[in-house]
Symmetry: C2
Subunit: 184 residues, 2 copies
DNA sequence: TGTGGCATGTAACTAGTTACATGATTGC
DNA sequence: GCAATCATGTAACTAGTTACATGCCACA
């Protein structure tokens, strides 16, 4: 995690698509891209300053009402070049996607352990909700399947959904293997 | 990432299964649990000291040959209690499993973008290797399917494999949707 | 007039990575 | 004698989280 600073390229990518404020960038992590990266505003605002100092971003001030002003950031030419460099560089495939719950399971050795059923059930409920939510998102945003002009977005939403589907199937299969099987 | 300190519980779990040295703990992250968590020895050795200071671990010294000695750590009673507390506590399901490659895709809007094919192909090769490796692992470690006495381990290996299978299928489907489809 | 959302920032801290550093053992 | 692996540690740094802090705007 140290050192790569991937966040800066995500910000660069987002403001290249359309100029945004820090607040809007923060919100972006609540939506689709939040499936694959997260960041708080306390990390985003300082990063915007750093990127502007690097000359990769510029901002213009906007005023709403009497006083409220926000800074809308856009990528400079060199910022766009940096984004392109990142996109075309080889990405080491992610190896250790961290998952606390799965680790817990690893330490439960006995198939008859009473803790298994509630643990698996709780996770299943959560991931089913997430799966259903993603299904709706996909149906809403891409009602006709792949969009040739927003293809990457379509792909990652599909991937997020399939990932949740796999998670649910795995948990269901695990529950079915518990003593008593699907009947308890 | 700040604050939860999940690593301490993983160490606690590993040494509870069997007493281990710092070196052995480091190696453990190269195997199955590395699919869901990673840690370097520079993080593990200080953590072992902290856990011993907390009274959750104790160590005994072993000597190999003339001088080389290693510290073998075991969980104390309170360490085992802390492990159990962690295992039984509700785990917030993981939300943002970070994946740099997927984020890059998000910023490629045009289905005809020439960068797509090499990007997807490179990833596919990597994940196919990982998938094949996991298949072999599963077949070697659990030739008869689920093991009632190492059930958690079996479950997480299965999950790791299914996850890679999903990843490969998704990448293959993405490649097939590229202009020219499966023929180029 | 008050609540929820818009908007921006800083401070203090923890987790995790990379690099530095040293030495012993095993086997060829 | 040399290389690979076993074995343990520290230092310097970056990334990311949580909490603190402030103020405006729209709407009911």
């Amino acid at each position: 995690m140290a050192q790569r600073n991937i966040l800066q390229f995500i910000i660069l990518g987002l403001v290249t698509d359309q100029p945004r404020t820090g607040y809007e960038l923060t919100k972006a992590f609540d939506n689709d891209i939040g499936e694959f990266w997260s960041a708080q505003h306390s990390q985003i605002y300082p990063q915007l300053k750093t990127l502007e100092a690097k000359g990769w971003l510029t901002h213009t001030e906007e005023i709403t009402g009497e006083k409220l002003n926000r800074k809308r950031y856009a990528a400079t030419k060199s910022g766009k070049a940096a984004l392109n460099d990142w996109l075309t560089a080889a990405s080491e495939p992610v190896s250790g996607a961290k998952d606390e719950f799965v680790l817990k399971l690893y330490f439960i050795h006995d198939q008859t352990d009473a803790r298994l059923k509630p643990m698996l059930t709780t996770q299943l409920i959560w991931h089913e909700q997430r799966r259903d939510h993603l299904r709706k998102q996909l149906a809403t945003k891409f009602p006709n399947g792949a969009d040739a002009l927003d293809f990457g977005h379509f792909l990652i939403l599909e991937h997020a959904l399939h990932r949740e589907e796999e998670y649910c199937q795995w948990l269901q299969a695990a529950l079915a293997q518990l003593p008593g099987g699907m009947t308890n």
